[in-house]
């Protein structure tokens, strides 16, 4: 009798210990330990899209800086990323690994429209944050009801297209627009934005719209059609290689449009410089948009964000190219992530992270220092476009000069 009583007592004690320790155990949130938070992301580090490889390196640099400043609420950020080569099945496999093997707290900055679309349903099913995807495809911001665990970050393509449309309608109301656009969602997003920015009354300004298949070897046929259409305003919504080709072909055909608008993905000093070197005479004067501090423009040299950027690049990513704005992009995004994490306090949860991402207000004194002064990061209720303000800029003498002040691609809620 005594022995069984002892056994029962031991069993009860053991059960109590389990129950108590279960309560005292660190939160059961995956990816969060007493000392660390695990963030992971897939990026094209090799293959055709490897030009974007600086982004995760810069993100890591900023996270290292944060960790050196005692991390986030006593935890160090562990950021791991892998190469998916912009190949969706690779993205799928790596994402499964992050969720099922590594148990990451959140997936951050995953790059590429199609790669991230391939994993969107899975991540939402698994209730893992797909935070701040690196793509401007409007769907990632727009479809938050269907995909509550997914959110974009940068100004979306439709908004950018709308900005060009609004500018043209206001400042070039008699211009004849010839637009070449990539024949897929990327180009389609931009084009529909352009049309909505022009508005019904100015839609007729588009005299020719030429779709271009990214698999076609050259946009010769399309650019020739635009040149012959009598357009005096050339709008380019293509990825970098095809953009450069379009610039060169236009000059070879003897077409000198009075105005050129190029989408921000391809409108960088690197690509425009390449186009000029390859024989294009119309790169100077090209309009595009910009929302990040520009390391090649001396006017931003004294901005606190630029000072911090150069300091962090020198310390944590010395082999990176300081003049590559993609590094600013990476740091700006990482800054945003850190702000969200800080706000989650001692017991971060995945749901808490998404809630925070959907009710952001970083403006004024709390604005993202790596964005152009005055740009806010806001999401609330049914408005889920974190960044939608940009500066229209004009390429001149190798530098982008701002044209006017900030423009809003979307209507910010009051």
């Amino acid at each position: 009798m005594k022995r069984s009583a002892l056994l029962v007592a031991a069993a009860l004690l053991a059960a109590a210990a389990v129950v108590v320790s279960a309560g005292a155990a660190p939160s059961a949130t995956p990816g969060v330990t007493a000392r660390t938070i695990l963030l992971e992301g897939t990026f094209p580090l090799s293959g055709p899209a490897s030009g974007y490889a600086p982004i995760p390196a810069a993100m890591k640099a900023f996270f290292s800086y944060t960790n050196a400043q005692h991390g986030v609420n006593g935890r160090q950020i562990v950021f791991k990323y892998d190469d998916d080569q912009y190949n969706p099945p690779e993205t799928v496999q790596l994402t499964h690994k992050y969720v099922e093997q590594d148990h990451a707290f959140a997936l951050v900055g995953g790059l590429g429209t199609e790669p991230q679309q391939a994993v969107e349903a899975y991540l939402n099913q698994q209730k893992v944050p797909q935070l701040f995807v690196s793509t401007g495809a409007t769907t990632f911001d727009h479809d938050f009801t269907a995909n509550p665990w997914t959110i974009g970050w940068q100004p979306d393509y439709a908004a950018e297209g709308a900005i060009y449309g609004k500018y043209i309608a206001k400042n070039l109301p008699t211009a004849k627009i010839g637009v070449i656009y990539q024949n897929d969602d990327y180009g389609g997003n931009y084009l529909s934005g352009l049309k909505s920015g022009l508005g019904a009354s100015h839609l007729g300004q588009i005299v020719s719209a030429q779709p271009f298949d990214v698999t076609s070897p050259s946009p010769l046929q399309q650019v020739a059609a635009l040149a012959q259409s009598g357009a005096d305003t050339f709008v380019i919504f293509l990825t970098p290689t095809a953009t450069i080709q379009s610039y060169v072909i236009a000059t070879k055909l003897g077409w000198k449009p009075a105005h050129v608008f190029v989408n921000s993905v391809s409108g960088t000093s690197t690509f425009l410089g390449l186009a000029a070197k390859s024989g294009s005479a119309i790169t100077d004067g090209s309009f595009t948009v910009n929302y990040l501090l520009d390391p090649t423009n001396p006017q931003y040299n004294s901005a606190p964000g630029m000072v911090l950027y150069r300091k962090l690049m020198a310390k944590y990513d010395p082999s990176g190219n300081v003049n590559d704005q993609l590094n600013v992009y990476g740091m700006a995004k990482a800054w945003n992530v850190v702000q969200l994490l800080k706000g989650l306090g001692k017991n971060p949860t995945r749901a808490g992270l998404m809630q925070a991402a959907r009710s952001m207000n970083f403006s004024g004194a709390t604005a993202n220092p790596f964005l152009l002064p005055g740009i806010v990061t806001r999401t609330q209720g049914r408005y889920q476009y974190p960044i939608s303000q940009v500066n229209l800029v004009q390429f001149s003498g190798g530098v982008f000069k701002p044209v006017g002040g900030l423009v809003d691609g979307r209507v910010l809620p009051k």
Partner: protein, 343 residues
């Protein structure tokens, strides 16, 4: 292809396949499911390359055709995923025969170049007919989930489907190799002139080899689409075709059992083995390798391939055979049936 190991070896494979999920995490099972998919594809490519001696640099495209067939049937026509597998295989097989008829007038390197056009053409066709294929945006299939009343986690479901298919196709490949068709394939491999002189139409045999290998890859592609739950033109790049060929060579052209190793290679080389090799290399030589450099995976495969061709030209299958030779009992009584494989 020799069956030195024979039914005993196959039984061992079946046991290993059945046991693996019991000792693996969900994610590892998911990865091993893809090994099964690649095995099906490699068995097919092996029929063309190992048996019939024709090099193809485009068999990833046949996986793509199978995958798109499944995607279109499931997403646009509401088919149950499993039923699409045989359809995808047959459709792809027919395309393979059509393609074979077109290119088998060429021989050797010219044929290889012609097959290179396959993946490029597929991408172009998919983007051109975007109403039908979903274009660049691709198609999202329903997330992987178990069916047929089995309630298993999705990873295990993929594993079961992939390996059931792979083992079935394995047996089929073995039967083909042993039969008359296999002998025709080997005859054409040895000498097209001699086989034609003996009444075998080299062109028809090669075409059939294309068709059969495409059938295999189509089936593999169908399961691939089910597993990844997404297809788009970027899903089957040239890299995949080259990786499949590399897998066949590393497995050992002509060796069925070697294909299992080839499939493991295709699945694990990029994510697991290459980084591990690089880390070991760095530790041994203290030379820092930038694995994030553009083109670095291709460089690594190339090096691995060269290494294998140098050290073990007959691939894993050849190595296994050499090891088996050390055991007198496993030596075949009729040595003439064993043949060195190779391209």
């Amino acid at each position: 292809m020799t069956s030195r190991i024979g039914p005993a070896g196959f039984a061992a494979l079946v046991v290993a396949v059945a046991a693996a999920p019991l000792v693996s995490t969900h994610y590892r099972t998911y990865e091993l499911g893809f090994v099964g998919i690649y095995l099906a594809a490699l068995l097919g490519l092996n029929i063309l390359t190992g048996l019939t001696g024709q090099i193809s640099l485009g068999h990833g495209a046949f996986m793509g055709i199978g995958a798109y067939t499944t995607a279109i049937l499931v997403v646009d026509h509401g088919w149950r995923a499993l039923w699409t597998i045989p359809v995808a295989a047959v459709v792809t097989g027919l395309v393979g025969i059509g393609f074979g008829l077109a290119v088998t007038r060429f021989a050797g390197p010219y044929l290889a170049l012609a097959t290179f056009a396959l993946p490029l053409t597929l991408t172009g066709i998919v983007k051109r007919f975007q109403g039908f294929t979903g274009g660049s945006l691709g198609k999202n299939l329903p997330l992987l989930h178990s069916q047929l009343g089995l309630r298993t986690n999705p990873s295990l479901w993929l594993y079961i489907v992939a390996w059931s298919l792979a083992l079935l196709l394995f047996v089929l490949a073995w039967a083909v190799a042993r039969g008359r068709l296999g002998r025709s394939f080997r005859a054409v491999h040895d000498s097209e002139i001699a086989s034609t002189a003996n009444g075998i139409s080299a062109r028809w045999v090669k075409t059939l080899a294309f068709g059969l290998s495409a059938f295999y890859c189509g089936a593999a592609g169908a399961v691939f689409a089910i597993g990844v739950a997404y297809v788009n033109p970027d899903t089957f790049p040239i890299d995949l075709s080259i990786l499949l060929l590399t897998g066949v060579v590393i497995g050992g052209t002509g060796s069925l059992g070697g294909m299992v190793f080839g499939a493991l290679f295709v699945e694990f080389i990029r994510t697991t083995w290459a980084p591990a090799l690089v880390r070991a290399f760095t530790r041994v030589t203290t030379v820092h390798v930038n694995t994030h450099a553009a083109g670095s995976p291709q460089v690594i495969y190339g090096l691995v391939l060269l290494l294998v061709l140098f050290a073990a030209p007959a691939g894993a299958g050849g190595l296994a055979r050499r090891l088996a030779d050390l055991v007198p009992r496993l030596r075949r009584r009729a040595p003439s049936l064993s043949r060195p494989s190779g391209l």
